[in-house]
Structures are given as structure tokens and as C-alpha cells.
């Protein structure tokens, strides 16, 4: 019998973890529903209270958390290759900064959820246009300039966000903080995020070998026959799309995009055809679990999930780091 490769085993583990995290999200909450009832409601949807709680409240939120986690991990992994920088995360290019500033302006103006989303989207688009426009002048594309432009822009937005926090009336500051730390309580429909996740994730996995080549450096990738610039632009667009889709649902959830790809690498997977799907599943399962904890740990008090991702993620990462040093 053939022994399964390590990434294939990890894939099964991650798939199982994903299903478990989604099931736990459906099971947990102030309204007691047994595992059997959850299964029953999933398999034979019959209108009723249990059905409404699961299909109306918990399932959409779990689906949103799952998609956001996958999107952030995908964007992080893509940007780490594009910028060839281990510290790159979905927020390094200022996209979330633009979205945050837009959302906070709308919040301060007392706008509703739809208006806030539109403003966040507009802010993100402005940031993307500025970063892309400045680093892709006259056909001359430089990844180093892309990184610097993004970091500078992010710093600018961060100052504007601080300004908005100081100027806003006290009553609104808490809502703003939740948005900034990342929160799924007011997440809208996750359908768009799922489409972005499946489409960009699928395309990225189909081109994974190209990412492996790009990780060797631009000149080397070019020497091996890769059309480098079109690929870099495609990665930028894919990462920007994934980031925007995630930020619009959940605000700026930290830690997932930076650390999940590294966690997968620490498990010994480096080829992107495995790294990308594993990172997406791990990020999705991780954020779903973190969100379940965020809404149940101190119920009825809800925590912003961005706080939980770091609180749970940091010890796990430290253990992984310690373990892998012993192995290498």
C-alpha cells in the first residue's frame, strides 16, 4: 500500500478541522441546540425555532468567518511571494487602511451598514489605485517600490484612522474599535466573499508552480521561462480582491494573514500547490473557531474576533516555532 505524502495527510487533517470548526460554530450559542438537532436541521430543514437559529443566525456567521479566514490566509501567502517578504500580510499594502478610513468616516457620519460597506469599498479602491498607479508607472514595475508605497500609504491611513477616532463622538468609538480589531457580529451576506475565495483560490492553486518559481527571485524565474511581470500583476490583483472581500465582511482581522501561511510552512510544506489550499483551510477553520469563542466565551458580551485570533494564535505559533527548531 502506498504511503500518503505528508501534504496529503495534512490536507485530510485540515479538511476535518474545517468541518469540525463549522459544526462547532453551529452548535455553540446562548440558545441550547444539541448536536443531533444540528444534524437534523442540516439534513432535513423544517421551519421552526431551531431551524431559524441555525439557518438565520449561526450558519451565515460561520460561513462568513470561514470565508474571511480563507481569504486572509490566501492574500497573506500571495503577498509573501509577491513581495518576497516573510512579514507581508494582507494589510501591508494599505488596502485595509483605506477601507478602515472609509468605514470610519461613514460610521462618524451616522451611516447605516450598507453605506458603511460602500464607503469601505471606496476607500479600499482608492488605496489599490494609488498603490498600483504609483508602483506601475510607464511600464516600469518594481516590487520594492510597491512594498514601500503600500507601507507609506498604510501609515497615512493609520494616522487618518486615529484622527477619526479622536474626533468621533464617544458613543461611536466602541463600534469603530470593533471594526478596527475585526468583528463578524455585523457581517453581511458571505456570498460574495465565498465567490472570491473559490475563484481566486482556484486560480492561484492552478498557477502554483509559477509562484514556486517567483519565490526563487525575478531573474531566476525569468530564466526558467516565467513571464514575471504579468504574474506579479495578477498576484497583486488577486491579493487585493481577497483582502477587500475579507475586510468588507469582518473589518481588519489581524494575525491570520501573516501567520497562517507560516504555520503551514512550519509543518514542512513549501510547494504552493499544497501551501495555498492548506493555508486557506487552516485560516478558515482557525477564524471560524476563534469567532465561535469570541461570541460564546463571555456571552452575552461579544469580543472582537481579531483579539481572539491573536490570543489563540500566538501560543500555537510559539509551540510550532519551538518544535520545528528541534527538528531542523
Amino acid at each position: 500500500m502506498a504511503v500518503m505524502s505528508r501534504p496529503a495527510v495534512l490536507m485530510i487533517v485540515m479538511l476535518a478541522a474545517s468541518v469540525a470548526s463549522l459544526f462547532a460554530a453551529l452548535l455553540s450559542g446562548p440558545f441550547p441546540i444539541s448536536a443531533l438537532q444540528v444534524l437534523d436541521s442540516l439534513l432535513y430543514p423544517v421551519p421552526g425555532l431551531v431551524h431559524d437559529v441555525i439557518w438565520g443566525l449561526r450558519a451565515p456567521r460561520a460561513a462568513a468567518a470561514f470565508a474571511v479566514g480563507g481569504l486572509l490566509a490566501l492574500a497573506g501567502a500571495l503577498l509573501q511571494v509577491l513581495l518576497r517578504n516573510a512579514l507581508a500580510d494582507p494589510y501591508v499594502l494599505g488596502i485595509s487602511g483605506g477601507a478602515a478610513f472609509g468605514a470610519l468616516l461613514a460610521l462618524a457620519a451616522g451611516a447605516g451598514a450598507a453605506m458603511m460597506n460602500a464607503a469601505a469599498f471606496a476607500g479600499a479602491l482608492v488605496a489599490i489605485a494609488v498603490v498600483f498607479g504609483l508602483s506601475f508607472r510607464a511600464g516600469d514595475w518594481d516590487v520594492y517600490r510597491l512594498l514601500l508605497t503600500g507601507v507609506v500609504l498604510a501609515a497615512g491611513f493609520s494616522a487618518l484612522v486615529s484622527l477619526a477616532l479622536v474626533m468621533a463622538p464617544d458613543a461611536q468609538v466602541k463600534g469603530m474599535l470593533f471594526w478596527l480589531m475585526g468583528d463578524l457580529a455585523y457581517a453581511g451576506s458571505p456570498a460574495a466573499a465565498w465567490i472570491v475565495l473559490v475563484v481566486t483560490g482556484g486560480i492561484a492553486v492552478a498557477h502554483a508552480v509559477r509562484l514556486d518559481l517567483l519565490a526563487l527571485g525575478e531573474l531566476k524565474a525569468h530564466a526558467l521561462g516565467l513571464a514575471v511581470k504579468p504574474l506579479q500583476i495578477a498576484i497583486f490583483v488577486a491579493a487585493a480582491l481577497a483582502t477587500v472581500a475579507a475586510v468588507l465582511l469582518a473589518g481588519s482581522v489581524g494575525f491570520v494573514g501573516l501567520m497562517v501561511p507560516h504555520a503551514v510552512r512550519l509543518m514542512g510544506v513549501t510547494a504552493h500547490r499544497w501551501l495555498l489550499p492548506l493555508a486557506m483551510l487552516l485560516g478558515a477553520a482557525f477564524l471560524t473557531t476563534a469567532d465561535t469563542a469570541a461570541r460564546t466565551l463571555f456571552a452575552p458580551q461579544q469580543l472582537p474576533v481579531g483579539v481572539l485570533t491573536a490570543l489563540i494564535g500566538v501560543p500555537v505559533m510559539l509551540v510550532l516555532l519551538g518544535r520545528s527548531r528541534a527538528r531542523v
Binding site: V209, A223, G225
Partner: protein, 253 residues
């Protein structure tokens, strides 16, 4: 097979060589010699289509290289770069497999044929026992051999080697040069290699290209060009001529 004409090599602020013209045919091995900073690497990059020269054309089988797509070019021309910018985190086998990119036809991962080619390439440089080792854990010389294996797995018709012998011990220097001359003589590949040693070209190369760094260039048969006067001018240092088995070698005085 691979030819250039009117090629100018320049770095910002300085012209290194003017009007270079030569053709490398299958079966020939060209040595590119010159002092530090004389434009050897710039020439390799220009011939490989990685960085277009300010003037002149490079042609592959008569067609301009500039009109060639990246994948098409890499299927014919393989380059061993002098330096690689990034660490590679996967295994030595995975690293060599990346050389199959211009030939790969499979959607997910690599085909059995790709893996067979990569393993054969590792064996050719004596790294068959290192396939599963992390590339990062290899020594400098082992990495250099893994990079040569990657080039072999690419199966190009023209091989451009920028300092193929760096980091290699004497035994592996000879092994690599034998491997390369076998590819040229038995498989009709065209080879251009940048060498730093005045010892090897006389033994392994059919042709030579001398870059004097001041704009002057000479290209021709190795037997005509590899004399003491030219090499002394090229390197700017006095040389001693040693004769052994009817061959002339040069060493610093």
C-alpha cells in the same frame, strides 16, 4: 544556433564592450574570459534574453530572441546564473523539478516523466542521495551542483553557464566540465561558459571570447586566442607558460 551581432554591453555610465558578433553552433564550447567587471555576466544575461543589450541583436536559429515568448525561450536556452537572490525552502528534488517548468504539461504537480528527468539530473551531478534533503541544508558546492542539475533537467539546446565551477572542489570541477563537454560533443548542445581560470579553457573549450573591459572584444578559436600575450593583457598580470603533454597552460608568475 545562438548568435549575436553588433552587441553592445554597458553598465550605467560605462560601455564595456562594443560590436560583439559571434555564433555558437551545436557541439561548440565557448569560454568567456575577462577581468572582474568586464561584462561577462552582462553578456550571459543578454544572450539569455534576460536583459536586453542597449544595441545589437541576439538570434536563436536565425530568429530574434526578443520576439520569443518566455517559455519558448527557456525551452531552448538554459542559464546557470552566477547568483541566486533567494533561499529555497523545499527539497533538492523539488528545486531541480522547477527546471522542468518550460517543459511541464501537467496541471497539478509534476508528471512521472518530469520526476524521472529531475532524478536523472541529480544523479548526473552525484547528488542522487540528496534528493530528499532540504536545499537549504546543502553546502555551497552541493547547492552549485543542484543548480547545475536544475539546468540539466531543463534540457536546453543552448547552455549559458556563468561561473559554473564556483564553490566546487577540484574533483567536481573536472566532473562538471566533463559533463558539459559530453553534452556538447555527444548531444550537439551549444555551450557558453564564463570561466575565471586560465587553466580549463585550453583543455575543454573549442572557442573563446575575450572581453577586455575597455570596449575591445576578440572572438575565435580557442587555439588562436589563448596565448600568453593576450591573457596577460586580459588579466593585467604577468603569466608563466607551462607545457605539459603538448598542451600550454598559464599560471600567474
Amino acid at each position: 544556433m545562438l548568435a549575436c551581432s553588433g552587441l553592445t554591453l554597458a553598465v550605467p555610465g560605462r560601455v564595456l564592450a562594443r560590436a560583439i558578433g559571434f555564433e555558437v553552433r551545436g557541439g561548440e564550447i565557448w569560454a568567456v574570459l575577462g577581468a572582474n567587471g568586464s561584462g561577462k555576466t552582462t553578456l550571459v544575461h543578454a544572450l539569455a534574453g534576460l536583459a536586453p543589450a542597449p544595441a545589437g541583436t541576439v538570434t536563436l536559429d536565425g530568429a530574434p530572441l526578443a520576439s520569443c515568448g518566455s517559455a519558448e525561450r527557456a525551452a531552448s536556452i538554459g542559464v546557470l546564473l552566477q547568483q541566486e537572490e533567494a533561499d529555497y525552502w523545499g527539497s533538492a528534488l523539488d528545486y531541480v523539478l522547477l527546471g522542468r517548468f518550460p517543459r511541464a504539461r501537467s496541471w497539478f504537480g509534476w508528471s512521472a516523466g518530469d520526476e524521472a528527468a529531475a532524478r536523472a539530473a541529480l544523479a548526473a551531478v552525484g547528488l542522487d542521495a540528496f534528493a530528499a534533503r532540504g536545499y537549504r541544508t546543502l553546502s555551497g558546492g552541493e547547492r552549485q551542483r543542484a543548480r547545475i542539475a536544475q539546468l540539466l533537467a531543463q534540457e536546453p539546446r543552448a547552455l549559458l553557464l556563468d561561473e559554473p565551477l564556483q564553490h566546487l572542489d577540484l574533483r567536481h570541477q573536472v566532473a562538471v566540465l566533463r559533463l558539459v563537454s559530453g553534452l556538447a560533443r555527444e548531444h550537439g548542445r551549444a555551450v557558453v561558459m564564463v570561466l575565471h581560470d586560465a587553466l580549463w579553457p585550453a583543455r575543454f573549450c573549442s572557442h573563446a571570447l575575450l572581453l577586455y573591459g575597455d570596449g575591445a572584444v576578440e572572438a575565435g578559436a580557442a587555439a588562436d586566442l589563448l596565448g600568453r600575450e593576450r591573457l596577460e593583457r586580459l588579466y593585467g598580470c604577468p603569466l608563466r607558460e607551462i607545457e605539459s603533454d603538448g598542451r600550454k597552460f598559464f599560471a600567474p608568475v
